[in-house]
């Protein structure tokens, strides 16, 4: 079998990750519907049960760590819908994942333009 390609700081959302994260991503996909967003906000634990989240996925969500959610199979495009409910922007999430302050993360983006 070919060796898996490693790209630093990046989780490739392949078949293994997609299978692992199926329930979590399915829950996030449901957030396209405003009624589902309301139901999630009203009772998160019941919503996790409804989507049969794994223990790892529940723990990742409880920790609020995006890196842990990704490790539990979460995909950026679906997790973004959860971030929307939590009122987090992509800079907030970027800062959290890179261990920077939001201001430092924004500065990093500005600096990329001055390369």
């Amino acid at each position: 079998m070919a060796q898996k390609r490693e790209i630093a700081g990046t989780t490739i959302f392949d078949g293994g990750q997609a299978a692992k994260g199926y329930q979590l991503n399915k829950m996030c996909f449901s957030f396209n519907d405003p009624e589902n967003r309301k139901a999630f906000v009203a009772d998160q634990a019941a919503y996790f049960d409804k989507y049969k989240l794994t223990a790892e996925q529940r723990a990742a969500l409880a920790s609020g760590s995006v890196l842990k959610m990704i490790e539990a199979g979460g995909n950026a495009y679906y997790l973004a819908k959860l971030a929307g409910i939590l009122g987090l922007g992509v800079q907030d999430i970027g800062a959290q994942q890179t261990g920077m302050s939001v201001d430092a993360f924004k500065q990093k983006l500005l600096d990329a333009g001055r390369q």
Binding site: R5, I7, A8, G9, T10, T11, I12, F13, D14, G15, A18, Y22, N25, K26, C28, F29, F31, N32, D33, P34, R37, V66, L67, I70, N75, A76, Y77, Y78, L79, A80, K81, A83, G84, I85, V90, Q91, I93, G94, Q97, T98, G99, F105, K108, L109, L110, A112, G113, Q115
Partner: protein, 287 residues
């Protein structure tokens, strides 16, 4: 006969939709991006495309992981902009051109592709933002044909496969008997990554290479695999595949009309590039 008049490639960052809704176009943060558009709109007003063929990626609105197509072609009479779950305003529905859609599907299947065919397709910011940027009054003067390229679940189709798809679509369009002016869109990019400890990754030299290749020909990019593109352009920078497919559909004479590249908009190196196209047949006739 139908004629491809050019390719407009643009970033489609969700925040653009919010900035439009909040009328922030002239704020210092947004101005460098929105300033790209008046020349594009001027060109559109002059060239008046009848149909816009979109190469784009769905962001978990129309497709889920239960059935994830590598390529999907819309064949609907109307495309509805739906709630994406995070507050981007929706836009009025856009009319399709089912006859052209089926012609394209027939053409690309004959050329060895196996697309999913969709008679219903909700469209997200990858289509709604470029539409609003082109036509801010939401009075759509053109129909659309959306062609979705999987950019979520690996294995993703790589540059070579997307290039071949684009060529097949271009060939089908140019064989279409109706006298239509067709604009292509490569929606997405350029370099960006939202997830992982490499979040915020931007690769300006690679983006510049891409923008140049769009003018002179994307063939040098075909040596890369989809994972090479993840490495060079970021996890979501793979939307570059939509640019490659659109560019591949133009095999005549290509001229750059406008280009804007600005870092950052949100977490993305934003880019807008307009290329005009004179089909090879027309060039031969003129010579």
């Amino acid at each position: 006969m139908a004629r491809i008049i050019g390719t407009l490639s643009t970033s489609h960052i969700p925040a653009i939709g919010n900035a439009i809704a909040r009328k922030q176009q002239n704020e210092p943060y947004w101005k460098p991006f929105f300033d790209a558009w008046p020349p594009v709109r001027e060109w559109l007003a002059k060239e008046k495309p009848d149909v816009i063929v979109f190469f784009y990626n769905d962001h978990g609105l129309n497709f889920f992981l239960d059935k994830m197509p590598t390529f999907a072609v819309g064949a609907a009479a109307e495309y509805v902009s739906e709630d994406e779950g995070w507050g981007i305003p929706t836009i009025p529905s856009i009319k399709g051109d089912p006859k052209l859609s089926w012609h394209i599907i027939n053409g690309i299947v004959a050329d060895g592709f196996d697309p999913v065919m969709c008679q219903e397709m909700a469209v997200d910011h990858a289509i709604t933002n470029p539409m609003l940027l082109m036509y801010p009054d939401s009075n759509w003067p053109a129909t659309i044909v959306p062609i979705a390229i999987n950019s979520i679940q690996h294995p993703l189709p790589g540059p070579k496969r997307c290039y071949d798809l684009g060529r097949a679509v271009g060939k089908a369009i140019e064989a279409y008997p109706e006298d239509l002016k067709v604009l292509l869109i490569g929606s997405g990019g350029l370099s960006h990554q939202l997830d992982g400890s490499r979040a915020g990754f931007i690769n300006k030299p690679f983006d510049q290479e891409c923008l140049e290749a769009m003018v002179t020909g994307v063939e040098p990019m075909l040596k890369y695999s989809s994972l090479d593109i993840v490495e060079k352009a970021g996890a979501q920078g793979v939307e570059l595949m939509c640019w490659i497919a659109a560019r591949a559909a133009m095999q005549g004479q290509v001229k750059e009309v406008a280009r804007t590249y600005h870092i950052p908009i949100s977490n993305t190196a934003s880019a807008v590039q307009l290329l005009s196209h004179t089909p090879a047949a027309a060039t031969a006739k003129a010579a």
